[in-house]
Symmetry: C2
Subunit: 625 residues, 2 copies
C-alpha cells in the first residue's frame, strides 16, 4: 500500500501535536514514536486488545480491517473510532486521543495542603556599571566583582546568557543562585518569578506539579500514562528492553525526558510562565524509573542480588538531560532505599510524616509493585512485593487503568448489583477499585471460595440473589462472572471477571498481605500496635477500604485506621522542591530504612502461602464502613 | 549535471576520512562541511586563488574547467591535481590533501624541555566486596563507602560506567579523581595510564600535544590549519559570521570541537592509548577562539569597548562540549587578560617565565594579531595590535602559510639572490619569513624607499646588482618584484612581491613597533632597559631576526637579545595541564597584567605614524647576526 507523508494533528487534553507521518507503519507507531503522547499496546499492535482506540475527526484513512470490525461497536465506527495499530492516513488528518484525556487530572490533583517553604534558591537584583574603553573587564569578571555578591560560579550554560542579559537590562539584572552558583542571569527585575516542577514518575503514570517557589503554592498539575508504556507495562519488561536493544536505554530515557519536557512546556504555557523561570525539577519515582530518566543502566536491578547503580540523591544539570528550563537549571532526584524501594517511597514516607512521629505507622503504595514501609521516628523497615500490575488493570481480561469508562465502583444492595464508571461514560473495562469491589461481593456470596475457585452456575449456593446468578457464566470452559453484557458496552464483547483474573488478584493480594506480616514480625510487634495505615498512590485513593479488607488485601485489624494520602510521592517531591530541610529528611529516611529482601525471606514464604486464601469473615467489614 | 552519492576517501597526514558525497556542490564544500579537514578558499570557491588544490589519486571526476586550466600547471594536471572548488566526483574516489600534509609537524614539534609535574589528578586502586542478597547497597553507595576514599562526587557520566567497571574488574577498580570528584572508574589496575592533551587554538593553526601526566613527557604533537578557516582568515570575520548567520556560533563551535576531537583520536590511536584514559584537555587560544570553542557569543569583542563574555579560567565537562575523552573528563580553558590579549598570551608569558623574573622582558607574539607584553615579576603591561594576518601570508598576492613549497628564506650574497622552500619542494608561494627577508633586501638596496614606495626599474639606483634589477617588474602598472618566474613554479604564474604587498607589511610592522613603543612609554623605561625579547608563535620561530630588525618590525636596540620560544602558548598549556601551580601562576599573570587599549591611546597614534617608515640604517644588522 502506498505510504505518503501526510501531516497529522494529534489532540490530547486540548493540546496539539503535529508532524509528518513517516517512518511509521501505522498510527500507533507514529503516535508512540513521533509525539509526546503514547498509546498502550498490550497485544503488540495486532488489533486484538482494542486499547489503542483513537478518533479520526477529519481526513481520510485506510479502510476498516476485519480485526477492527470484531472489536469496535457500530456506534464507535460511526463516531470515527479506529484502532491506531490498524490505521494509516491517506490524507492530512486530525486525531483525538479520547481515552487519554480522562487520565489528566483524574488520578492527581493540585496539592492543597500547605507545604513548608525553606528556599535554597535566591534571586538577587543588581545594578552594575557598564563597560567603557577604560573599564574593559569581561562580563563574567564584572559579575563576580559586584560588591557583596555571593556568586562565585557561573556555569557555561548561564555564561552564554550573560552578555545578552546585561545589555538588554541596561546592566540591571536579577541573578538566581543556589548557594554560590548562578542558575540564571536575567535582564531587569524578575525576582517575583521563581518556579519549580515536581515530577512523580510512576511505571504507569507520570504526574508533574508546577510549584511557585516563593509562595509554596502548587499552581497546576498534569498527569498522563508513562510514555515508556509501549516498551512494556512493568519495570522488568522495561529493563529487559534496555538489555535486548542496543539503543534501548537511550530510547527509554528519551521517551520519559521528552514527556517531562512536554509536561513542563504545557504547565508553563497554560499558566503564562516563561519556562526559563523554572529553575529546578525534583524527581521521585521507583528506582528503575529514576535510572531510566538519568540514563543509568538498570540491568542489575532485574536479577539477584538486585543491585541498583545508585540510590543516592543526585543533582544534575537540566541541560545535560535535555530538559528546557532555566539555562543553569538543575534536576534533583530524590534518594531511594534499594532497587525495589525507590525515591517514590522515600517521598511518600516524607509526605506522610511517619518517620518523624512516635506511634508506629504502616505505609502501603500499591502501584505496579507493592511497596510497604513500617515504623516510626526510631526505626523503619521496608520491603517490596511483586504484586504485579493486576490492580492497575494489567493481566486482567477486561482490566483498564483509571480512564473514562472504567468501572470504578461495584455495589450489591438489596439483591441488585450496580456499578459506576469514571466520568459516567459507557463502560470500557474495569479498573482496580472495581475489580476489588466485585471480587469482595463474589467472596461474600460464596461464589468465589476461600481457595479462590470460582463456582460454576450449577454449584451456586441456594440463596444466591438472582442478579448474581444471572452473571455466572463461563469463558473457554472456565467459570466467569459477567458484569456488563455485550450490549451494555461499545467493546463488542461483554465485560467479565474470569477465573484467571481472580487468580491474578489472589496472588497480588497475598503478596501485599504477606509483606505486611513479614515487616510486622521483623520489628516484633502485632498488627494491632500499628496506629495508622497510610495508603499511597493513585490506586490507594480510589480503592474502597471495605472491599480491600474483604478480599484480604489490607489487614482486618487496621480496617478503622486507614488514611488515604493520594499521590504521596508527588507531594513528597513537591516538599523537597520547596525545602532543603525536606531533602535532609529524605536523606535521613534513606539512611534509617532497613530493606528486607523478601525473595530470600522464609517468613515471607510462609506468610505468602497463608495469605493466599480468601476469608469470608473479612467481608463483614462491608457493614462497618 | 547529475549528482550521485559516491563514497569519498579523503587522506591527510596518512589519516583517512570517508563519507558520502552529498548535499555538496563540489569537493571543497564536501571537505569543509563533512570531514574534519579543511581547505582554504579565499576566492570563495570561484576557481581563482588556487589554494584548494587536492590530488585525485583514484576514481573519476568531472572534467577540468577553464578556471583550472588557467591555474594548474601541466605537471600538476598530469599528477591528478585539481581545484576542489571546481571538481565533483563521478564515481567513488580517493583524494589526497597534499598541502595540508606539510602543515603537521612543521610549525610545531614535541616539547622537549622538562616541565614541572605537580599533579592534580590521582589514580587510586581499590578492591571492594561484591554485593549479595544481604548486602544490597547500590554500586554508587558502595563506591562512596570504601574505607579511606576521598571520593565524594561521582558525576552522572561516570556513574553510567560504574556497574560495568565493578563487574568487569571483579570489584577491583581504579578511580581517577580530581580532588573529591571521580573522573573515571575503570576495571582493574590502570594506574599507569594517565594522559592529557594541551591545545593551542590559533586563528590560523591548531596544535594539540599529548602529555603523559605521570612522567610529564610530551609524547606526540599534531597540528593543522584551524578548521574554522573557511569562515574567514581573521578573528573579526569569524565573529561576523556568528552575527550574520543564526547558526554561525554553533557551526564555528562544531568545527573547532570536531577538529580537536579528531586530533585527540589521532593522538590516542597512533600512540596506542585508550582515549578514555585522557582525563583532561587544557585549552589556550586568543579570546575569540576560546569563546568559539566554548560556544560563548564573541559579538561584543568586535566593537568598542571590546568586551569579552569571559577571560576567567573555566573548567567544564568534556562531555558537555562533545569531546570524547574519559567519561568525567574536563576541559580547562586558561584565563586571558582582555578581548585581545587572550589565554594564548597568558600561556606564553607562563612559558617564558618573564612574570617571575626580576629583569624586564618583552614578549611578542606575531600571529593573526600581534600581542605584546612588557614587564617582570612586579608589573606587566600588555597590548594587542591589529597587525593583521599579513605575516601569515594572508592579503599578500603570493602569500601562503608555512606549507610545503613556501619560500621561507631569501638571501642576497655576492650579488646573487637565492631562496629555500619548506621541504625543498617546488615553490608554491611565499610565507612570512620569506616576505620579511625579501623586503629587507629590497630596503637595503634602496629598491623600496623609506616611505615604502617601490621603485620602478627605470628608477633603480646605479649600483643595483643585476639579479635584483632583473626582478624589477610591474603588475597592473605598479612596481613589483619577481622572485620566481612562471617556469620556476607549478602555479602557472610567477611569484611576485607587489607594491600592495609592501604596504600591507608596512602597516603591520608599524603597528607592532608602535605597540612596543607605547608599552615602553607606559612603564617609563627605555628600550635599552629590556634584557630579553621573547618571540612567541610559529612565525616568531621561522622569522630571521636580522631581517625583522631590518624592516623595523623588531627594535634595533634589542637586536642582540632576541630569544625564540617556539609555540609558547602550546608549551604554557602543557605546563598548566601538568601542574596546579602553573595554573595558579596563570591566574597571577591575569590579575597582574594591565591591558592598554591602543585604539584610544594618543601615544600609540603618534608612534604608529612614526614607525610607518622604513630605515635603511636597520638593514645593517644583517652583518651582525
Amino acid at each position: 500500500m502506498e505510504r505518503k507523508n501526510h501531516t497529522l494533528h494529534v489532540f490530547r487534553d486540548g493540546r496539539e501535536n503535529f508532524g509528518e507521518f513517516k517512518d511509521s507503519s501505522n498510527l500507533l507507531e507514529y503516535i508512540n514514536n513521533h509525539t509526546p503522547f503514547s498509546l498502550p499496546a498490550p497485544c503488540a499492535g495486532k488489533g486484538r486488545c482494542g486499547k489503542c482506540r483513537i478518533t479520526v475527526s477529519s481526513g481520510e484513512v485506510t479502510p476498516l480491517t476485519e480485526e477492527e470490525k470484531k472489536i469496535l461497536s457500530e456506534k464507535e465506527i460511526a463516531r470515527g473510532v479506529r484502532l491506531a495499530c490498524m490505521t494509516r492516513p491517506l490524507s492530512d488528518i486530525v486525531l483525538v486521543m479520547d481515552g487519554e484525556k480522562a487520565g489528566v487530572g483524574n488520578k492527581s490533583a493540585v496539592i492543597t495542603e500547605k507545604m513548608e517553604v525553606h528556599p535554597f534558591l535566591h534571586k538577587d537584583l543588581y545594578t552594575l556599571n557598564g563597560p567603557h574603553l577604560h573599564d574593559q573587564i569581561s562580563d563574567h569578571s564584572r559579575m563576580l566583582s559586584v560588591a557583596g555578591t555571593p556568586v562565585r560560579h557561573i556555569p557555561l550554560s548561564v555564561l552564554r546568557q550573560v552578555p545578552g542579559a546585561l545589555r538588554e537590562g541596561g546592566y540591571t539584572i536579577t541573578v538566581c543562585r543556589d548557594g554560590d552558583t548562578a542558575l540564571a542571569v536575567e535582564p531587569g527585575d524578575t525576582r517575583e518569578q521563581c518556579y519549580g516542577v515536581a515530577v512523580d514518575i510512576g511505571t504507569t503514570t507520570v504526574a508533574s506539579y508546577l510549584i511557585d517557589l516563593t509562595t509554596g503554592k502548587n499552581l497546576d498539575v498534569i498527569s498522563a500514562l508513562n510514555a515508556q508504556e509501549i516498551y512494556g507495562a512493568d519495570v522488568i519488561s522495561r529493563i529487559n528492553h534496555t538489555m535486548t536493544d542496543a539503543d534501548g536505554l537511550k530510547k527509554l530515557q528519551e521517551k520519559i525526558i521528552d514527556q517531562i519536557d512536554y509536561m513542563v512546556r504545557i504547565l508553563a504555557d497554560r499558566n503564562q510562565i516563561n519556562r526559563e523561570r523554572i529553575y529546578t525539577v525534583v524527581i521521585a519515582g521507583n528506582t528503575t524509573m529514576v535510572h531510566l530518566v538519568l540514563g543509568l543502566p538498570p540491568k542489575n536491578i532485574a536479577a539477584a542480588p538486585f543491585i541498583s547503580v545508585t540510590t543516592e540523591a543526585l543533582t544534575v544539570p537540566a541541560g545535560g538531560l535535555s530538559l528546557s528550563i532555566a539555562p543553569g537549571g538543575t534536576v534533583y532526584t530524590l534518594p531511594g532505599v534499594s532497587g525495589y524501594v525507590g525515591a517514590d517511597i522515600v517521598a511518600a514516607v516524607l509526605a506522610s510524616g511517619m518517620a518523624e512521629s512516635g506511634p508506629l505507622s504502616l505505609l502501603i503504595d500499591i502501584g505496579t509493585n507493592g511497596e510497604i514501609v513500617l515504623g516510626n521516628r526510631d526505626r523503619l523497615v521496608c520491603c517490596s512485593t511483586a504484586a504485579g500490575p493486576a490492580f492497575e488493570g494489567a493481566q486482567i481480561r477486561n482490566g483498564v487503568g483509571g480512564i473514562a469508562g472504567a468501572v470504578n465502583k461495584v455495589r450489591m444492595q438489596d439483591g441488585i448489583i450496580s456499578f459506576t464508571t469514571i466520568q459516567n461514560t459507557r463502560p470500557l473495562g474495569i479498573c482496580g477499585s472495581g475489580i476489588v469491589d466485585l471480587l469482595s461481593i463474589l467472596i461474600g456470596y460464596h461464589i468465589v471460595e476461600e481457595s479462590g475457585r470460582m463456582l460454576s452456575r450449577g454449584e451456586a449456593p441456594e440463596k444466591t440473589p438472582k442478579d448474581l446468578l444471572d452473571g455466572m457464566t463461563t469463558l473457554d470452559g472456565e467459570p466467569a462472572f459477567l458484569l456488563v453484557p455485550e450490549e451494555g458496552t461499545d467493546l463488542g464483547s461483554p465485560i467479565l471477571l474470569t477465573q484467571k483474573d481472580v487468580r491474578e488478584i489472589q496472588l497480588a493480594k497475598a503478596a501485599i498481605a504477606a509483606g505486611i506480616d513479614t515487616l510486622v514480625k521483623k520489628i516484633g510487634i502485632n498488627l494491632e500496635d500499628i496506629e495508622v495505615l497510610y495508603l499511597a498512590g493513585g490506586f490507594g485513593s480510589y480503592l474502597h477500604k471495605a472491599s480491600a479488607v474483604a478480599i484480604g488485601l489490607l489487614p482486618w485489624e487496621l480496617h478503622d485506621r486507614v488514611h488515604t494520602l493520594g499521590n504521596a510521592a508527588g507531594k513528597g517531591a513537591a516538599m523537597a522542591l520547596l525545602s532543603l530541610r525536606a531533602r535532609e529528611k529524605c536523606e535521613a529516611i534513606r539512611r534509617k530504612a532497613e530493606y528486607i529482601e523478601l525473595s530470600s525471606s522464609p517468613e515471607f514464604q510462609d506468610a505468602y502461602i497463608e495469605r493466599m486464601f480468601f476469608s469470608q469473615e473479612n467481608t463483614k467489614t462491608h457493614n462497618i464502613f
